[in-house]
Amino acid sequence: MRRLLIAGVLTLMTALSTQSQTLNVGVGSVTYQFPASQVGEMTYSDGTSLTFMGRKFSISDITSMYVDASVVENNTVTVAYDGTSADVFVAGNVAKYVVPVVSGAHVTIAQGNTDDVDGNEITYVLGGSTSDGEFALTGMYKCTIQLDGLTLTNPSGAAIDIQNKKRIQLSVKKDTENALADGANGSQKACLYSKGQLQLQGNGSLTVNGRTAHAVKSGSYITVKNLTLNIASAVGDGLSCNGYFQMKSGTVTISGTGDDGIQCDLDGTTSTGETTDHDDEDSGNVYLEGSTLTVTAASSAAKGIKAAGDVVISEGDINVTTTGNGMYDSDEKEAKGSAGLKSDGNMTITGGTLTLKNSGSGGKCIKADGLLTVSGGTVTATNTGSTYRYSSSYTASAKAVKAGTRTQTGGSGRNATYSYSGGINVTGGTLVASASSHEAIESKSTIAISGGVIYASSNDDAINSASDFTISGGYVMGNSSGNDGIDANGNCYIKGGTVFAVASREPEVGIDANTEGGYKLYVTGGTIVAVGGLERGSSLTQKCYQASSYSKGSWYGLYNGGTLALVFKIPSNSNMGTPLVISTSDTPTLESGITVSGGSEIWNGFGFTDSSVSGGKSVSLSSYTGGNGGGGGHGGGGWW
C-alpha cells in the first residue's frame, strides 16, 4: 500500500509540474492570448496572414509572438493603464469579436456580435492609472465592464464612453477603489456615459467627477446595486438617465453638482408606466428600494432627485439637502425653486427613512405634481427657506411638502373655476414637516388622511388643501404660529383619527374650511383639540366643547367618556388663538397640569400615545357650537 501511495504522489507531482501554455500574439499594445488547449489549428494564408480562433491577423501587423504560462480567462478583455500608455489583453475565445485601437492610454474597442460566445458577453476589466486616457466602446451587444482599481482621467473627453445601446453592467470589483474624471469644456455628455442601459454594481467604490456635463449619464435606465458611488462633482446632473432609475442597494453620495442630483427623464414621449420587472419600461420613474442615498444640491432651483414620472420609495436611508435659491425660467415664464424630491407624476412612500432639508428661497423638500401617498416609513422635511421673488408676478414659495395640481378652467379672480388632480393621501408612516415662511404641507388638490402620524408646523398654514381635506384616521397635528392649523379651501371633513390643530389669533382658526367660497367644516367623529377654535358655520354632528382657559406649555389629558384618549402639550407660540375646543365621540373631560409617563412620543414632543398620566386638575368645559374666524364670532365662554 505504501508503494501505491508513493507512486501516486510521484504521479501527482509530475502532473502538477505541467503547465498550461498560452500563445500570445502582440499587435502593438494589444496582446491576444490563445490557450493551447483552445486554439486548435492556426492557419497561414499566402504567407501574409495567420488566423487564430477565427481572428485573422496580417503577419506584418504582428509585433510579438511568444508562448508562456499565462492563465487566460475566457470572455475577458483586460486593459491595464499605466501613465501615458495602456496595454490590452484579449482572451483568445473572444479575439474575433473585438477590435482594439490604442493610442497612448486612450483605448477604443469595437465589439461585434457576441451571440455565439459562451456566456453571451464579454467582460472588460479596467485597471491601473492614467491622467490622460479613456475607455471607449462601440458595438451593438451587451457586455460587462469591471473596474479593478482604476484611476482614469480623460482631459479631452469622457473617461468611459459606451456608445453601445445594449445593457452594460458596470461592476466595481470588491474592495477596490476607483476614480473617473473627464475634462472641462468638452462636448461629452458625461464623465461616465452609456448610450444603453447602465447597471452599476459591485462591492467596491467609485468616485466620479463630471467636469463638462453630467457625472454619469445613460441613454436608458440606470440601476444601482451594492456599489459605493461617490459623485464628487458635476457641471450638470450627478446621475442622469432615461427610462427609469432604480436603487436596489448600496451607498450613493452626490454633491458638487451644477444641476440636479439625480434626474430621470422619459426616453420617448409616452410613458409605459411601471412594467413587470421593469421590462422595456420607459416611465421616467425613480425607485429607491434600499441602502443609503445622500444628495446635496446647491445650485439655483436644482432638485435633489427629479423624476419625469413617479418617485417610489420603499426602503433606505435617504438624505437630501437643497440650498439653491429660486430662479426665473424664461422658457416657461415661471419662477422655480429647488426641491429635495420632485416628481412630475406621483410620489409613493411605503418605507425608509427620509431626511429632507431645504434652505433655498422658493424651494420645497417634496414636490409631487401628482398624488403623494405615504403609507410607511419616516419622512422629516424641514424648510428654512423664504419666498423667491423674481417680480411681483413671479414668485415661488418655500414649503416643506407640496403635492397635487390645480388647473384653472374658467372665470377669474374669486369667480375662477378649477380642476384638481393628485393631492396627498396618508395611510401610515410618519410625516414631520416644518416650514419657516409658508405652508408646511400643502396640497393643490385634496388631502386624505386615514392613518399614520403627521406633524406640521409653520408660520403660515401648517396644513393646507386647495380642495377638500378629509381626516378619518391617524394622528394629525397642524401647528401654526401665524395662520390656521389645518386649512381647507374646499370642505373639511373630520370623520375620525386624532387631530390637534393650533392657530394664531383671529381671523385664523384651528381648523378652517372655505366658508366664504360656500364650503364647510364637517365634524362627524374623531378626537379633536383645536387651539383657535373651528371655522364658523361648521356642521358639528359630533358635539364640541370649549375650555374656559388653557396654559401654554402645559400637558393636558383628554378623556373620552372616562378613557384617556390623548395626551398633549399646548405649544408656546406667540399670538395663539382662542378658544381651546375639544371633541370626542363620547362626552369629553379634560385635565391640565398632568404628569406623563411612558408611551410613545409623537408630534415632535407635543403628544404621547399609550402613556400613563398622574396628577392634574379638571378643566371647566362648556358647549361649543362654533365657530371662529373669517369674521365669525367666538363660541362664547372665557379663556386665557
Partner: protein, 141 residues
C-alpha cells in the same frame, strides 16, 4: 488508509485533468504535410525576411512563410504525420516501435527499411545536431 486512498484518487483525477491541458510542443506543418515540432519552453516567434523564426532555449528554427500551412500545439514531439523520407538520406538512424520500444540502430534509412519487418516505425537521425529531437515516420515494405 482508506481516506488516504480516496484523497489520492481524487488528487490523481484532478492531476490527470490538469495534465490533459499540457501541450509542450508547437508543430509547424508545411503545405506538403511535413510537420516539425519545437518545444514551447521559452518559445518566441518572429517574422523576418519571409520566414517565421522560432527560438527557445535549445535552438533556433526557421520556416519559410510561403511553405507553411498551419501551426498547432501538440503533446508529443512527433513527426508521424510526415511522409517517407526521400531515398539517399544517408545518416544513421535509431528506430522505435510506435509504442516507444527501441528496436535498433541502423547505418542508414535504407538499411533499416531492409532489415525491419513490414510496418510503420518511428525513427530519429543520430547525427542531426541541429534537431536531435526531431522524429519522423518510417515505413518498411
Amino acid at each position: 488508509m482508506k481516506k488516504a486512498l480516496i484523497s489520492l484518487a481524487v488528487m490523481m483525477t484532478l492531476a490527470t485533468a490538469a495534465q490533459a491541458d499540457d501541450y509542450p510542443f508547437l508543430a509547424f506543418q508545411t503545405a506538403d504535410g511535413t510537420v516539425k515540432t519545437v518545444s514551447v519552453t521559452s518559445l518566441t516567434l518572429t517574422f523576418s525576411n519571409g520566414q517565421v523564426v522560432a527560438s527557445n532555449g535549445t535552438g533556433v528554427y526557421s520556416f519559410p512563410l510561403a511553405d507553411l500551412s498551419k501551426m498547432f500545439f501538440t503533446s508529443e514531439p512527433t513527426a508521424i504525420k510526415s511522409p517517407l523520407l526521400k531515398e539517399g538520406q544517408e545518416k544513421a538512424v535509431e528506430v522505435f516501435s510506435l509504442t516507444g520500444v527501441f528496436l535498433g540502430r541502423f547505418d542508414s534509412l535504407e538499411a533499416a527499411q531492409e532489415q525491419l519487418a513490414e510496418g510503420v516505425y518511428v525513427a530519429r537521425r543520430i547525427g542531426d545536431i541541429q534537431s536531435p529531437q526531431t522524429t519522423f515516420k518510417l515505413m518498411s515494405r
